[in-house]
Amino acid sequence: MNTPAIVARNLTRRFGTFTAVDHISFEVQSGEVFGFLGANGAGKTTAIRMLTGLLAPSEGEATVAGYDIRTAADRVRERIGYMSQRFSLYDDLTVRENIRLYGGIYGLQDDEIARRSEVMLGELEFTPPVTAMVRALPLGWKQKLAFSVALLHQPAVVFLDEPTGGVDPITRRQFWELIYRAAAKGTTVFVTTHYLDEAEYCDRLSIMVDGKVAALGTPAALKAEFSVASLDDVFVTLARGTASSGERSP
C-alpha cells in the first residue's frame, strides 16, 4: 500500500491552559514497527488516545488506516487493535470467553473465530487450558494472549500502550518476536515503551518532550544525529533540552 498507515498533522490537544500535545506531525508506513517514546507526562498517552479515537483533538488532524479520526472514527475502529498494560482482557472471564467476546465484537462469525483462535493459540504455543480464568494466568501469558487477541480481527494498525510493563526479560523477547511476526504480515505496530532497549527493536521511533516531537527517525539515524552511542544517551540529551532537536521527516 502506498498510503501511510498513520498520518498526523499538527495534532494538538489542550486541557484548559495546559497543552499536552503540541502540534505533532509524523507518518507511519504500513508494516512498520513504530516506537513512540517519551518521559511520563510528555504527552504519549494523550497522543495515542487521539489516534485511537478516544479523545478529540483540539487542533490538527490525523488519519489512521486511511480514515480520518474526526469524521470517520467508526471506520477507524473497525481497523485497529488496542492493547494497554493496564488492561486488555477481562480477568473474570475465561480465555475462550475473552476470545469469543472480542471476535464477536469485531464481527467475526463463530466458525471463523474458532479457526483463528486455534491458529493463534497454536502459534503462541499456549499451554494453559482455554477454560482457565484470565486472572489465573501468569502475567507473561496474559500479555502475549492480549496482544494476540488484539490481532484476532486482523487490523491494519495495532496500538500497544506499554505492553511489556512488569514482565520478565525472556517474556519481553518473546513478545517482540510476536510483534515482528505481525509486522511481517503487514500489520502496522505503533508501540509506546519505557524500555530503551526495546526502542532499538523498532524500525523508526519518535521521542516526545513536553508535548512536541523532539526527535524522529531510525535508531541508527538518531544515534548519529546526536553523536551518541546509545538511545539512552539520545534520550538524556533531549531531556536536558539541548539545541539540536526538531521534526524530521523520514
Binding site: D74, E78, Y82, S84, D92, L101, Y102, I105
Partner: protein, 383 residues
C-alpha cells in the same frame, strides 16, 4: 449489530453471575432488608400510657375511665387528683397523654347534659398524637351516647353494664367503614412501598457501579476503541440489570405475599407493566450517576443523595398529599411516587388498567425522558 449485542450480553451475565459480592448485594441483602424493614416500618399506635387526673371521683368519671381501659388502646399510668404528677409523667416519658376530668363532671352531665374534659397529648409525633386524639374522641363520644340513650333511672345500670338501652331521642348513628384495610394494619401499606424502594436502590446503584467499575479498571477504554456503537454498549449494560430488577421484584413480591400476607387483590399484569416501566427510569438515573462519578465511592454517595430525595418525596413514609402544593407538583416527576401509588392501588384496592392508566403513562414518559437524557449525557462525555 444484534450479534454484537448478544455477545456483550453474554459477557455481562457471565461477569455478574461470577461476582459473589454483587450477587449477594443483588439478591440477599435486599431480601434481608425487606424482612427487617417490613417488621419495623409501622406507625401503628399501640397501647399508650394515659395519666388520669380525676377531680370529680364519681361513678360517672370512673365509668369513663373504665371505657378507656376497656378499649385496649390505653393503659392507666397513674390516677391522681392534681395536675403536677401528670405533667411530670409527660416530661419524663412515662405517660403520653393526660385526661383531666373537671370537679363537677357528674353533676354537670346530670343537670345540663354537658361537660368538658381536657386531653393533653404528647405531640412530639404529631401524627401519632392525631391518632391518639381520634381514639380518645371515639371513646368519649361512645360514652356520651351511652349516657344519653338511657332513662336517668337506668343510667347507673347502663354505666356499670355498658348496655345501650332505649333511645330517648332520635339520634343519627354514625357508622364507619375503613376500606381496603380491615385490620387497620401497616404491613400491607408499607411493604409494597419498601419493595419499590429496594428495587430502586439496587437498580440504580448497580447500574452506576457497573459502569463506573469499568471506568476505574480501564476496560471502558478498551471497549471504546472497538467498533461497538455507544447505544449497543449501553443496551448491553442496562438490559441485564433490567431483567435482574424484575427478578428481584418477583422475589420481593413472594416474600411480601408469603411472609407478610400482603393481599393481591388486583392483577399482577398491571403491576409488572408498572415495574417494567419504572425500572427504565431507575436504570436511567443510575446511568446518569455513572457519567458524573469517577470512582465507586463517588457513585455510592451520589446515588445515595439522589435516592434520599426520591424516597422522601415518594409517599412511602408520609402522604404525598400532605406536602405543600408546590412540592406536590415537583413530586409529579418522581417515578417512585407513581409506581408506589400504582402498586398500592393494584395490590390493596384491586385497581385495574382503567384505574391506574395515569400512573402508567407518567411512568412511561418519565422513564423514557430520563433514559434519553442520560444516554445523551453519556454520549457527550464519551466523545
Amino acid at each position: 449489530m444484534l450479534r454484537v449485542l448478544r455477545v456483550l450480553l453474554h459477557k455481562e451475565f457471565l461477569q455478574i453471575s461470577r461476582d459473589k459480592v454483587i450477587m449477594r448485594m443483588l439478591f440477599v441483602v435486599p431480601m434481608i432488608q425487606l424482612i427487617v424493614l417490613g417488621n419495623t416500618a409501622t406507625f401503628e399506635v399501640k397501647t399508650s400510657a394515659l395519666w388520669v387526673v380525676d377531680q370529680d371521683r364519681s361513678t360517672v368519671s370512673r365509668g369513663l375511665l373504665d371505657r378507656f381501659t376497656a378499649s385496649g388502646r390505653f393503659d392507666i399510668a397513674g390516677y391522681t387528683a392534681t395536675m403536677r404528677p401528670g405533667d411530670d409523667a409527660l416530661l419524663n416519658g412515662s405517660a403520653n397523654a393526660i385526661l383531666v376530668i373537671p370537679p363537677a363532671f357528674a353533676r354537670d352531665l346530670e343537670r345540663d347534659h354537658r361537660s368538658t374534659v381536657q386531653l393533653v397529648l404528647n405531640a412530639e409525633n404529631g401524627s401519632q398524637a392525631g391518632v391518639l386524639q381520634a381514639y380518645a374522641a371515639e371513646i368519649i363520644a361512645r360514652y356520651s351516647t351511652v349516657l344519653g340513650s338511657v332513662a336517668p333511672q337506668a343510667r347507673a345500670a347502663a354505666i356499670a353494664g355498658g348496655s345501650a338501652g332505649m333511645r330517648a331521642a332520635p339520634v343519627i348513628e354514625i357508622a364507619t367503614r375503613g376500606r381496603y384495610n380491615p385490620s387497620l394494619e401497616y404491613k400491607r401499606f408499607m411493604i409494597p412501598g419498601i419493595l419499590v424502594q429496594l428495587i430502586t436502590i439496587v437498580g440504580t446503584l448497580m447500574t452506576a457501579l457497573n459502569i463506573v467499575r469499568e471506568k476505574e479498571a480501564g476496560t471502558l477504554d478498551q471497549l471504546n476503541v472497538t467498533p461497538i456503537r455507544p447505544s449497543v454498549f449501553l443496551a448491553a449494560k442496562l438490559i441485564p440489570l433490567w431483567v435482574i430488577g424484575l427478578i428481584e421484584f418477583t422475589m420481593g413480591l413472594l416474600v411480601a405475599v408469603l411472609v407478610f400476607d400482603v393481599p393481591v387483590v388486583g392483577s399482577l399484569a398491571v403491576v409488572y407493566a408498572g415495574a417494567a416501566l419504572f425500572l427504565v427510569a431507575a436504570l436511567g438515573v443510575g446511568l446518569w450517576v455513572s457519567t458524573v462519578s469517577d470512582t465507586q465511592q463517588q457513585a455510592l454517595f451520589v446515588t445515595f443523595s439522589i435516592l434520599m430525595v426520591y424516597v422522601l418525596m415518594s409517599g412511602l413514609f408520609t402522604p404525598v398529599r400532605a406536602m405543600p402544593s408546590w412540592v406536590q407538583t415537583v413530586a409529579q416527576i418522581n417515578p417512585m411516587m407513581h409506581f408506589i401509588a400504582l402498586v398500592r392501588a393494584v395490590l390493596l384496592k384491586g385497581a385495574g388498567f382503567a384505574d391506574v392508566w395515569r400512573q402508567l403513562v407518567a411512568l412511561a414518559v418519565i422513564g423514557i425522558t430520563i433514559l434519553s437524557l442520560s444516554v445523551g449525557v453519556y454520549r457527550k462525555r464519551a466523545s
